[in-house]
């Protein structure tokens, strides 16, 4: 492998935000992403929106996957998106949400800029394919 050959990897932040302590899904998706060849940064449990923003900006991730099973997505996701905008990191970050989200809320989240919402039972392959196809080209 030569010095100037580009060595690009898709970088993802798998984030648990808020008081929800169910991290099995986040762990499984983190491993699946890793096995798909992505570089995964896992946030750990109980993160505040600010912390997620800090991590997403500093790690310069291509994908931000937010796992929420507590039903607080309408409060937390907008805060994260606001923060990303503040640091000019919103435009080229692919934001996806995993968890239990009612259909009405899905539309709202999409309007805010969430690219896709994956509910329980989504095959890993589908999520990985989605990321591969939709990750923003960066110059």
């Amino acid at each position: 492998m030569s010095a100037d050959q580009e060595q690009r990897a898709i970088r993802c932040l798998v984030a648990k935000v808020g008081l929800d302590g169910h991290d099995r899904g986040a762990h499984v998706i983190a491993r699946a992403f890793r096995d798909a060849g992505f570089e995964v940064i896992y946030s750990g449990l109980h993160r505040a929106p600010d912390e997620i923003v800090q991590a997403a900006v500093q790690e310069d991730v291509d994908v931000l996957g937010i796992s929420i099973l507590s039903g607080a997505h309408n409060t937390l996701v907008p805060k994260v998106i606001e923060g990303l905008k503040e640091y000019d990191a919103f435009e080229d970050t692919l934001i996806i949400v995993g968890g239990i989200v009612p259909d009405d809320d899905k539309a709202k989240l999409r309007e805010l800029g969430v690219a896709e919402i994956f509910g329980p039972g989504t095959p890993m392959k589908q999520t990985i394919e989605f990321v591969r196809e939709n990750v923003h080209e960066r110059t």
Partner: protein
């Protein structure tokens, strides 16, 4: 990326824009087109940061200690950059970079810039990428830059060598580990930290380390010379003055999760930094690093040049097949390929 965009990115980084810093490090990691120009442009703004390397076996508490160190520096009004290097899978290239989880004391504090990097299976390229990322943090204006990596092999040793002060973390009761460390990492440590010092075996580990450091400073101490002992050679006496101001590695006890002993560690790190400055070794070390960096770049660049030439001539496989069939041999092939390059260099020489 256009030249104008590159210049803008550099400008933004120097202006203190976090996004720009993050983006520059990504370019360095990806080796995307133009990253060399960006790093070149940053170079004149570097040289002010104090770079600390931290290494140790998995689970020794590196990330937790880095977190507490960063907090302590922040409390003293200093800004901090952290680069945490984690291994990646040699099969898929994927990685889970988990060091960030431990940065609990610094969440929401943007003045601590924490960046995870993975070893993307680069051949020695990781130390170059790490060194370049350190430059980006340095140019950004970070006072302290901490490089954290698992101490496992030559690659990691190369990485921590880009630091001014190398800290090696050891777990209590890891007598065998200490033995293992002897060969590689023990030699490069300026400061040894026995973390989890609230464990009963901590004192023993401290004693073992101190003994080993003592042995290191006196290479004959461990040898049973008996009556075959030899006179100290003359040269050693000449070096005595230098010997006197040589740094003796310090052993520090910490309990990183409670922050215990971290203040002391900070003092010892500062002490080592002072020592480097006063003896002029800081500059000497930096010059050595740059020399190594130039060599490394040249190696990579010429390798790339040759790789392209090899491809043009039909790839390495055809040569390998010819060698296997005993039509030629590796030395002849290498000579053949390098000849035009050597000729060219000679021609251009003035």
């Amino acid at each position: 990326m256009s030249r104008a965009a590159q210049r803008e990115l550099v400008e933004e980084l120097l202006d203190g824009k976090h996004r720009a810093l993050a983006r520059v490090i990504t370019k360095i990691e990806n080796r995307s087109p133009g990253y060399r120009d960006v790093v070149s442009a940053l170079h004149e703004h570097t040289g002010d940061a104090d770079v600390i390397g931290i290494t140790g076996s998995p689970g020794a508490g590196k990330s937790t200690l880095v977190d507490k160190l960063a907090r302590t520096y922040r409390d003293a009004g200093l800004t901090v950059g952290v680069i945490a290097v984690d291994p990646s899978s040699p099969f898929t290239g994927g990685a889970v970079l988990g060091d960030r989880i431990r940065m609990a004391s610094n969440v929401g504090d943007m003045e601590v810039f924490f960046r995870s990097m993975s070893a993307r299976g680069q051949l020695g390229g990781l130390s170059t990428a790490t060194a370049d990322a350190v430059k980006a943090l340095d140019a950004f204006g970070k006072d302290k830059v901490i490089i954290e990596t698992v101490g496992a092999g030559q690659n990691e040793v190369d990485i921590v060598r880009t630091a001014d002060t190398v800290t090696v973390l050891v777990q209590p009761g890891s007598g065998d580990d200490v033995q293992m460390l002897k060969a590689g990492i023990l030699e490069i440590g300026d400061v040894f930290v026995v973390n989890k010092a609230d464990m009963p075996s901590a004192d023993r580990t401290v004693a073992e380390l101190e003994e080993m450091i003592h042995m290191r400073n006196d290479p004959t101490a461990n040898l049973d010379l008996g009556h075959h002992g030899f006179e100290e050679p003359e040269v050693a006496v000449e070096d005595e003055e230098e010997e006197n101001d040589r740094w003796t590695p310090q052993v520090v006890k910490t309990v990183a999760k409670d922050g215990e002993g971290v203040e002391n560690l900070v003092d010892v790190l500062a002490e080592h930094r002072n020592y480097l400055e006063e003896t002029g070794r800081l500059a000497a070390k930096a010059r050595m690093r740059y020399a190594e960096e130039i060599r490394q770049l040249l190696r990579e660049d010429t390798a790339q040049l040759l790789e392209a030439e090899l491809d043009r001539r039909g790839g390495v496989e055809s040569y390998a097949a010819a060698v296997y069939d005993r039509e030629t041999d590796p030395y002849t092939v290498a000579d053949e390929l390098i000849e035009p390059l050597a000729d060219c260099v000679e021609e251009r020489r003035d």
